[in-house]
Structure formats: C-alpha cells, structure tokens
Symmetry: C2
C-alpha cells in the first residue's frame, strides 16, 4: 500500500479514498472565475483542483483563491522556481513542479525548504515527451525510462529532505501509461497520481482514460486520478466518478443495470433505462435497479437488484431481489415503475 500524503484538508494514499481531481482552463489571475468554476466542479464531485501558474499575477492570485474555496488547491508550475515559492507562500496545498527543470541546485534547495517549512505537498513526475536523453539511451523509450524519469525527480527532492511527495508518469499511450504505473507501484510507496495525458476529446479521451485509469485501479494502483479531456472540466469529474463506480471504489450511488436489448424486447426498455438513470443520478444510496428487455434473462440476471423490470409479451414484470411481484401492461410500465422506484429511493 502507498503511504499517506496530506494535501490540505484531505489525505491521499495509505488506504484513503481515491481523490478525484481536475484542472481549470481559465487564467488563474481571474480569481472570480476560478472560484466560480471550482464551486461548480466541487458540486459535481471534484476533490482537488489544480490551476496553472503562468506568470506573477497567477502566482499572486493563489492566496485570494485559497481563501474562497474549500477543496485543496494545487499550483502547476513550469520552469520558474519563484512562482513555486510564491504559490507555497500564498497557501497552495500542493505544487506540481519538476525539480529537474527549475535550474540550479540552489533553486531546488529553496523550494524544498519552503515545502518543508509549510508542509505543502508536491507532485513530481514525468511525461513521455520529456524523458531525459540519458534515460532514453539507457532503457529505451518505454515504461522503465518514463518511470525512472519520475523517480529521478523524486530523489532530487529527497536529497533535501522533502517526503510529502506524489508521483505521476503520464503518456498519451494507454499501454505505456499502465505499464509505467505498474512499474512505479513496485518501486515506490509514494502515492500515485494516475491519468492518461493528452487523451483527446470527450469521445476518444473518455475511452482512453477509462481503460488506462480503470485497469490500474482494478489492480489497486492509483491514489488520486485525473481524467484529462479536451472538453469542459466538469466532464472530467463525471468520467472520474463513473470510473470509480465501475471498479467498485464508490458504491454509494444508484447503479442501473440494463441490457442492450435484442430481438426479444417488445417494449421501450432503452427509454425507460435512460429515465431511471436520470431520475436517480444524484441519489447517494447503494441501490441496484435493473431494466431488462425480456424475461429470458431478466429476473435471473438481476437477482441481486433492489428493484427491476423485465419485458414479456404485452406486459412487464416487476421484481425485487429476483422475485416477480407485479405484472404491468406495457402502456403503464414507465409510470408504474417510477412509482415503485420512488418508494425505494425516496
């Protein structure tokens, strides 16, 4: 198991819940916008929010943002160690920086000292596009060089006594991402920030993120996740939540089990499944609802559902825990089923 690292008022790793994070796509110095967008993401289920620090104005905005949001704030810094110092000073709960690219050892030492005295966490990592030439030559272009590049950055900070570290090692290739995190999970016990980078638009990016992040989580790898989508960040939160649910790490929701329908289906089970999904979307109760096309597999396949419906000829049957308890003609199915649903989710 990874060890726990504190990021503001939450901890990741060490058996804590896998935290969902996203990153804002507005300029950080636009504090009002940042706060508003963060609140919207928090409503959707975001646990940690990251902002980029591109210039002095962004760095200066950190403390103002920090005062107005309730979730941990991460400042993302490239190259300029002074922005890192300013962000730590402004109260950032974590900074994302690579000590390998902020210049002299003196710069690293200054950042390390600030991290230690403030207790700020730090994420270091690698990206398949920026692996050091020496590592590429030694190991080739693969999971080992990508992981070792991240671990290099870790050891630079460890030299200065920093240990509240989170590690990432991202690629846009799913197989490379998965292989790299598997390698990292054997080599280190720092918490891992998992994601597929530059995954793409919501269409392909969602698939790549589900496959990559999901398969790692299934094997117990990953302490915080970021779904990267070229889309509204709120889609990243929805996707991240659904991934956690799909791998069984979030059971506190209404799971809608529904079949793909086939030639046996004689009522609009697709429409009903969608209605049920919409009606139960916000409900935080561990329930399973089945919407099945036909009785061939219906009640049997949905034996452990709290409530279910399956189509027959001209009528549907409703069932609870695999036992049929009601027959309803097709015409009234939606209305009646939603009544039954309301009884148990209400």
């Amino acid at each position: 198991m990874s060890k726990a690292v504190k990021i503001g008022n939450i901890s990741i790793g060490g058996g804590n819940a896998v935290a969902i994070q996203s990153m804002l796509n507005v300029k950080t110095s636009l504090v009002d916008k940042v706060v508003l967008k963060t609140e919207r993401l928090v409503q959707a289920g975001c646990d940690i929010i990251r902002v980029s620090v591109k210039d002095e104005e962004d760095a200066a905005a950190i403390s103002a943002i920090k005062k107005r949001i309730k979730i941990p704030l991460v400042a993302d810094i490239h190259f300029n160690y002074k922005y890192a110092l300013a962000a730590i000073d402004g109260g950032a709960d974590k900074i994302r920086i690579n000590p390998g690219n902020i210049g002299s050892e003196k710069n690293v030492e200054e950042v390390a000292r600030a991290l230690k005295s403030s207790g700020t966490a730090v994420r270091v990592g690698s990206n398949s596009g920026s692996v050091e030439k020496s590592l590429l030559e030694k190991y080739g272009k693969n999971e080992i060089s990508l992981a070792e590049s991240a671990l290099n950055n870790v050891s630079i900070l460890e030299k200065f006594g920093v240990d509240n570290i989170v590690i990432s090692a991202k690629a846009s290739s799913v197989p490379l991402t998965v292989a790299t995190y598997r390698y990292l999970s054997k080599k280190t016990d720092y918490p891992l920030h998992v994601g597929v980078t530059e995954a793409g638009t919501i269409k392909m990016g969602l698939v790549k993120s589900c496959v990559g992040i999901g398969s790692l989580l299934l094997d117990g790898i990953g302490d915080t996740i970021r779904v990267s989508l070229t889309a509204d960040p709120i889609e990243e939160i929805y996707a991240a939540k659904n991934i956690l649910r799909s791998v069984g790490l979030d059971k506190n929701y209404v799971e809608v089990i529904s079949c793909p329908t086939c030639g046996r289906t004689e009522y609009d089970s697709v429409g009903l499944a969608e209605k049920v999904e919409k009606l139960t979307a916000g409900i935080k109760k561990p329930l399973k609802i089945a919407v099945m096309g036909c009785v061939v597999n219906g009640p049997g396949e949905a034996r452990d559902c709290d409530l279910g419906v399956a189509g027959g000829s001209g009528f549907c049957v409703f069932f609870k825990n695999g036992e049929i308890y009601k027959k309803v003609p097709f015409d009234n199915v939606d209305e009646e089923f939603i009544k039954e649903l309301n009884k148990i989710v209400g």
Copy 2:
C-alpha cells in the same frame, strides 16, 4: 495463446485480430430490417453479428439472412434445442447456447452432432445471474463459480466431441468480469468472448465496458469483444473500435492527441481538436495529430506526432515530429492547420 476457432469466413483466437461483434435488437424474422441494420453495423466496423432466435419464425429466417449478409452470423438460443438445430441447418456460423439448459442428454447429443457435421462454432458461457447452485455452494459467489459454470458447459459439449468452442462468462460487475476472464484464461485455451453484461446506458455502460474489456485486452485476454450498451448497436461498434485503438490493437487510424487545456491556453484548442477529429474520423492511416493548448508542453509532449499545433500568445506554432516549422496568427489557425492536415492525410 488461445487456439483458433473458425466462425464462417473469419477466425478468432490463435493470434487473429480481435473481432468486434454486436447483436441486433429487431425481431429476427423481419429479414429485411435485419439485413439493413447489419449492413449499417458492418459499415461502422462490425465483424460478427448475432441475432436472437425466439421462435420458429426466427429460426426459419436464419438461412434467408445468411444469404444476404457478408459477415458471420450467430444465432442466440435459450432453452429450445430445436431452434439450435434449425439455426445450424439454416447456415448460422455460430450458435450461442448453453447445453446445460436445453434439457436431456439426448437433446445435447443431437445439437453436438449437428455442430460437428456442419462445422458450426458454438459459444457457451455463464452469467452471474445463472450460476448453478452447486457451484455457488462450493466456491461462493465469485469469479471461480462463474468461470467454472462456463467450463461446465464446455465439458458437456466436449463429451460429445465438439471442440470449436468459444467461451464467455459475464457479469454486470466489472471487477467480477475481469477476475473471471483472468481465471478462465489460465484454465482454458478456447477463445474468449469478452464483455461486461447489462453494462447500462451509453453513459455508464461505456465506462464499464471500457474498463472491463480494456483492462483484459491490455493483458492479452480476449479474442472477440462485445460492448453491451442499452443504446443503438452502432454505438457498441464505435465503442469497441475505440477500445481496440486505445489498447494499441488497431493502429490503422488517425490518432488525435489533445491536451485538456489549462489557464495557459489562449486559443480555442478544444474546438480545433474536435474539428480535426471529425475530419479524420474515417481515414485508415496510422497517423498521430497533436492539438495542444500551449507551447510549454506542446511540441515536446507531441514529439512523435506527424503533425501538431500548439498555442502561444496571439499565434500558434505548427510542428512536425517535434520540430516547429511555422507560426500562424490565432485568426487563421483553424484554416491553416486543416490545410496542413489535408496535405498528410489526403
């Protein structure tokens, strides 16, 4: 590696390409509709199509359908062995049936004889809702009982000399599905039909299918896949194709690498990424195109892309294989980039 099984004019297992399949949701006896819908799915990338055989009319329709479609046809039969015989007789390339639930040994023997003399393939399997009580008592409700239930059905057919078998073992739970196929892949070398059953609507079902099917494929498990969505079957094909691409099993397409954008992004990279994705959707060439928000990570992260764009201040840079070769003002970026794109995909 699994052994190869021939299904009509394609083979699965034994190192053959992972075949994409779907199932129709119209009544099988409506032959014209079946043929039309199949053609649409084939256009989208479907390799194998399955239809349900609910009654004698459906069984009788198999031969008519078979004459009019080009991809292998699978007949899905529950309980009634006579429909299985009729489907085999009608030229189905594979039947989906469980010998454990078609009655007496004599029935099984008849089906087995028909399978052998015709060379028809057969898929047997289990479903988490229909595991035999004896197995549940012996192993508990887990991957072992679910897998052993499928293997039971295999051995019933093997007794009668049938060996062109494909196996499935499905659950609506992703962790259970993955654990079961991992178990099966160690216990058998028959090809595996992989999918998450009753995965749900396109929203949650897509996530569950990506995580479940994707993580198995990443480990080399799975010879044919079915994405089950409570939606238009064409969505199942799109999802299946994207899963194969995400795990690196289909490289013959235009991959669009695009970042999630952040506060550093000053042009509409989301819009451009979507345009590029649309324009290149049908193109079968192994190309990588990068659409990056900013130059901080842009060219570096997209070093091995055939063409890329990254935003600066007021202008974008275009790059090829990591080398910047052109600067274009924001106003002309979309138009100019699409021109460059057309040069290489043309």
